[in-house]
Structure formats: C-alpha cells, structure tokens
Amino acid sequence: MTDLDASVVIGFKDWGTDRLARCVSSIHASLSGHPHEVIVSDYGSENAEAVRAAAEAAGATVIRTETDGTWSSGRAQNAGFAHATGRVFMNTDADMIFTPHALARVVERLSEAPSEAIILQSRDLPYSVTEQDLLDPDWQDLATVATVRPRWGCGGLVATHRDTYLKLRGYDERMHTYGGEDIDYLKRLRRSGATIHWLDEPSVRMYHVWHPSTSAAAAQDPAATAAIKRNRELHTNDNTTVRNVVRWTHRHPEAPPVVSVMVNCEEYTDPSDGAVEISTLLGQTLTDIEIVLVGGDSSWQRFFNDPRVAVAPRLDDGWVAAIKHSRGTFITLHARRQLHVSNRLERLVNLTSTSGRAIADSTAMVTRSSSGVFSPVAASILNTFPNPWSSVLIPRQNALDGLSGAQSGSPEDLLYAILRGGVFITAEEALGSVFTAPAEIELQQDLAKSADSRRRLEWGGSDKSWLDNFQIAGHLEPATKLAAETYDEQYDFILVTPSGHDLAVEATSKLSSGLMRSTLVTDGEGTELFSIVRHSGLSFADVSLMRSTRESTVLGEATARSRTSMATVDDSTEIDVVMDECSRIYTSDPTAATWIVVSFANDSGIAGVFHGLERMSGLTCVLRRDVIDEFSHHRLVMAALENKSDGISALNRVRAIAPAGASVELRCRPAVISLSQLTKVDAR
C-alpha cells in the first residue's frame, strides 16, 4: 500500500478511446486534492496500442490482459485492482463522468465510515448531449436534462476500503460476458457486514454518457444469453461471501489467505513429530492458506520449507495473540493427531455464507495398534469427541470477538463464547477429518477431557444437533481407510538444488523409496548452474529427509490424493521450473515475470537467435540454458520482457528470427515456491 487515497479502475474493451480519455480526465478532476491513481484495465481490446496511448495521455496507468475475446467485467476489474495501491478502491465504467469533487467526497466518506460500500446513483444523459457539450460541461445544464436511474445493481460506481475488496477476493472470476457480477458483489458486500450506502448529496453526481445499449446487443447472441443466465444462477444460488478461493487469476499481492490453520507446536516434540499431520494441510486442494505454527520457531519453518508456513508467539495467554497474528479470513484450530482430508478446507469454505456463521464437519476417531494396524473407535463408545473446536471453521473476526468475551483463551472457551453469543454453527455431514489415537490410555484421557467440553457446551444451551452429529457411524470405515492411507501415503516432490548434478543425486541417494528423475541445467556452454530433482512415490520418512536437505528449494509437493484432480506432470515441468528460478534471480518482480522461451531441436540457429534477442528492445535479459536429463535435452534461449503487455508483439518478432523447427512460446506464471507451484503446472 502507498500513500494514495484512492485507486480507480476502469474495465475496458473497445469502447472508444475518446470516451475513455474523457472518463479518466473527469476522475482526475473529481479527485482533485486527493493523491490517487486511475488504472485502465484493458481486457483484450483489439488495438492495445491506441488504448494505451489514449489512457496514458489522459494520465492513467494501463494494465493489459490478453484474452480469447471473451469480455468479463469482473475479471477486468480484478486485473486492474491487482495493481492498485490506494486506500480506497473504486471501479467505474468508461461511459461515466463525475462532477468536480464528487469522488473526493466518496473518499472522505469512506474515511468516516470505512465499513460502508458507497454507490452512486447514475443519471442518464440524453442522446442530444454532444461530445462538444462534454468538453467543458455546464453541470447545471446536465443536471437539468439527465434522467435518474433506479437504485439497483451498482449504479456505475462502487467504492470500498481496500481491505473490504481483499477480504472478498474481488469479483467472481467465473462470471463473464455481461451482467450479474455487480449484483453478486453487492450481495457479498452485505454478507460481509458492509452497508450499501447510496451517497446522495447535491454536489455528488455521476452521469452516464449515452451510447447504444450493450445489453440489447447481448440479448441477440445465444452464447451471451446463456452466459448471462449462468451469471444469474451463480449470484442467486452461491451464498458464499469469499470467492476465487481455489483459483484467483488476478490475485492482489496483499490479499489475505483464505484460511489460517492454527497449530499449537507445544503439542509436539519437534517438527518431525507433527509432520504427518501438517503435511495433510500442506496438501490441501485449497492452496491459498496459511499454517500458523504457534510457539514454533525458524527451525519449524526450515523443516517445512513452504512460504505458507508462519510462526506465532507461544500460547502464554490463550489463543488471542496467535489469532491476532494470523491473517486468514477464516481460522480453524488444528488438534493433535488430526488428519485432514485433502479437500476438507475447500469444502468447508464453500459452505460458508455470512459473518456470524461458522461451519463444522464430522470427524471420526481411529486407533492404531502397536503393530501399526488402524481400527475405528465405535460411535457408541464415543458419544463425545476429544476436541470439538477443531472441527469448526470460524470467521476470524468472530473468533477474535469471541475470545474478547470468553472466560479464558482456551479453544474450549472460544467455542463456548461464540455459541453462547449467537454465532450459528452449521454441521457439514461429510467426512472431513480423522483423529488417530495411538494408545488406549491416551484415548481414555482424551475422552475424559472431551466429556468436560461437551458438558460446558450443553450448559450453554448451544444447538446440540451439531455435537450429536459429530460422529456418523457410516464414516468409521472410510475414516480408518483414510488414516491408514495418510500414514502410508506416497509423495511427489520437485526440488531445486544449486549444488550441481552429482551433489543433487548424492543428496537423494539415501532415500529408500520412490523414483527419481534428475535434470541438470547448464548455461549452454557446459557450466552447471543447478539441478532439478523430481521424485515420485516417496514414503513419508523420505519426505522428511528431503525437506531437511540444505540449500535446496522445495518447489512442489503433492500426495496421490491431492493429485487425483490434476493432470500428470509433463516434460515441460522442468522448463517451468527453470523459468521460475530465472525469474527469481534475474527479474525485479518474479510474481509477474513474463518470458519468451525459444526451444531448439539441435544446436543449429541458437547463436543467431541469442544475438538477435540481445539487440531487441523491450527485453530486460537474455539467457542461454540447457536442460539435460537421460531422456531429453532442451536447448533454450530465454528472454524476460520488460513489459508484460508487449508479449504478443515480442512473440511475433522472435518468431520472425527463429529457425524452422524451433518452438517459440510466451510463458507467464507466478513463481510461487509452494505446493501451488505444482498445482499450477498441472492445471496448465
């Protein structure tokens, strides 16, 4: 975030550069006195250069997104906001103009009431108002001839505090073509607690400049009609507040993770003791999560070697400090011996709705004998459950408020406080997590503790159906299977080691399971740069060993279960890894780096392309890389683009100089060193 008061995003595609320039100028005048930025999000206009020239001449920044021609207002807004740095986020359309200081008043109002969503009522200008009239508008005349629109949808401008946008994760990127995304966004704003404030002051006016109706045009197109229908179904039937949870293409870099999972490290002797359980969190299909190791230190972070793992202070005063330390929109508390089904968090988040509602799933207890055999604990024995709090996903703010009223900072008191205060808990009956109890004595202790928790919750008059449904007999058998599978799970790994090929192989030679494929990356002249080691089918013990390999970077990890929905990792995985490593080393913003990658079948023509690229403008660096393993030899020349939006034109220029038989690709992907890396590789 910068010191800007506001960021205004205009989603745009082929609607006339005069109109765009007029809108941008009007915004500048309307925000006069407040530091601000105007971002034109060009979502696939045919003449990108003309749009850029007009917008920049009017004082806007342009963010260009290449598309397949499909318009999506929501995605266009998100693409713009992904670069926004202001305190207030506003979006509007290119066919709007604003009275002087109108938007300044919006900014001031949001300073007074940051939890509001401000909307302006649109006033339609008639066809008779000409471009000439709008060059230096007589606002009094416009007020006289304009027609007020009814208060529905977003009017034409919606403004919120940036934190509100980030918490909602922007507009729903599933919606495209036309209509619905604004209504959906407003509904979600309300669910998040924001009031909808139609700011109505005589000096605050927004006018819609006449143009032929786009909705009428869309109605003539069967594909557009179908898309509009689908958008309507989404905003009618999807009651969640937070969207784009599994995939958010235009993610803002400061967006909070969807879920913070809190783990009390004092329950474990060392990181390896908690590794099986925490691996079931790292392998979740919902990847935008944070795992807060409470009381952990840097040795825990090194052990798990994943940027999503954070540490928080010890639980000296209950969970208050730890939850304050977390950033997720929702929180859940992990309990000792809990194993999470790989899609558990995704499913729980998809069942959330408004603030003041928490979601719980069912759990089952499984014991493990000394010989390693798993068996279920019968539901009749366990009418109770050791840690009911661990099954609940709670909006973070509810959790903090609950703790402020709780008797103590314990998780039992947290749960009691939110239930007693009126937060609803909805039980999801599907299997979500499994508890393993390694020894009978420990199990008995858990049950005694659990009975106590249950007495308190019942005394508080909570909805007992949630507790009663906690164990579902039919889930015991699959729960046993899950526990056994989790312990016997095989893992896949991608690891980058800078220590050279032989050392990389040596580092993994002690492994007792799995298949290894090692790839050497050189500079094209024989100098070894780093190695990419891809392992599949590792046992958990070997995964621990791999994690502790020094001076290496774990790029991806997946279990067989979390991999089921993905395609197979293909040969180009290594090229992606090379690109990400180079992005981290050679570019200022690895998350947005874009590369032109030329791949050669043999040595012919490499030098010519390399020197050609060195002379080409718009590139920040040109690299020569060989990616070699026993099955393949990729000869690459890679060039990083200075400006992502120049991608298509640069691609065409490189194609012109590349020899026949060489492939030229534009590659752009975030270099996230985490499990999401592998997901992205596979989803491509």
Partner: protein, 202 residues
C-alpha cells in the same frame, strides 16, 4: 432492518432481519441476560439504532411504533446514510424518569464506583449467565462482545451507550456517563435526549 423482541423471566432477546441495503451483522440475535422491565417503544428503538447502527441502511422497522421526534433524531443520528424509521405514531408519549448517573464500564475498562454514580458493568454472556446487583453497581451480561464493529472505537462506545439506554430505566438512570463522551458526535446526545437521557463524560 427489521427488529423483533422477546422478554422472559431471565432474559431479553432481540432478533434482526436485514433488508436490501443493510449489512449483515456478526450476530442476528442479541441476547441480554436480564429481563428488561421498564421499556418504552422509544427507548427500545434508540437502543436498537445505537446497537446495530454499523449495519443499518434504508428502512428500519422497530418492534413497536415510535414518536415522530425519536424517528427524526434517529434519522439525524445516521447522517449522510439514508434511513427511514417506522412505524411512527403521533400522540402523547411517556418519558421515563430517573435520577441516577449511570457510569458504563466493561471488563476492559473496569473502574471503582464513584460517589453518586451507579456502576453498570456490561459483561459477556460467556463469562456470566445472569445479572448481579449490589447497592452501588449492577453487572449485566449480553452478547455485545460478538456485535463489535470492525476497528471503530466510537462505534463501539455508541453501542455501549445504546445498551445503557435500554437498561437505564430499570436502574433509575437519567444520565449515562462514559469516558469518551467528548469524542462522540452531537447527534448521539440529541438521540439520547429525545428519550429523556443525558450524556456526560467521566
């Protein structure tokens, strides 16, 4: 936002239902661990407006009809955000009278009672199931701890005063005392004044 109310032997419960422009509050049921006996429609409306004000926009439907003056003061209290309180009925309206200064505290701002002040300690239902009374102080639990607006200190002060306004008549209160009275906008004093309550700083 539409409100309903129920009072039984041990507690007072309000429910709210959001309408088109309202935000959804963190809890839709507000629970007070005491049966509030001396309520008038005006006092109840003022209390509800103050308790739920961060989430109200547009029409407000109170449990019972209120006076035009209180309706007008509620509209003024919301300022730029358009609100329309209802139902409204003309005629003579009783104003509850008291004599005490009621000093409002919470577990976080707990302080000893002062001479000529009655201490109203607003506690949490998760710590205390029902109300407790002594000659110089009363502790009343509620679910207010879950109704906190995000990061707006004045907004929470207004909520505490709203709960104080609801309970004032049972405690023979006339003036609500709070540390932060000076920081609150004048519309808050005017709103309390419309139901016969004064506002003073500690």
């Amino acid at each position: 936002m539409k409100f309903t109310m129920a009072v039984d032997r041990v507690r007072t419960v309000f429910h709210c239902t959001g309408e088109e422009f309202d935000g959804v509050p963190p809890i839709q049921r507000f629970d007070v661990g005491a049966p509030v006996k001396s309520m008038t429609p005006d006092r109840t409306a003022v209390a509800l407006a103050m308790l739920f004000h961060p989430w109200i926009a547009g029409t407000i439907v109170f449990p019972e009809a209120i006076s035009p003056l209180v309706a007008n003061r509620i509209t003024q209290f919301f300022g730029a955000r358009t609100t329309l309180p209802s139902p409204v009925r003309g005629g003579d309206w009783p104003i509850l009278r008291g004599a005490r200064r009621i000093r409002i505290t919470t577990p976080e701002t707990e302080s000893p009672s002062r001479m000529k002040e009655h201490l109203l300690s607003l506690t949490s239902l998760a710590r205390q199931e029902s109300f407790a009374s002594a000659p110089d102080r009363t502790a009343i639990p509620s679910s207010l701890y879950l109704l906190r607006p995000p990061a707006l200190e004045n907004a929470h002060q207004i909520q505490l005063l709203g709960l104080g306004a609801l309970l004032a008549a049972d405690l023979q209160g006339r003036i609500l005392v709070t540390d932060r009275a000076h920081a609150l906008p004048p519309e808050v004093s005017l709103l309390l004044d419309s139901v016969g309550l004064g506002l003073a700083g500690a």
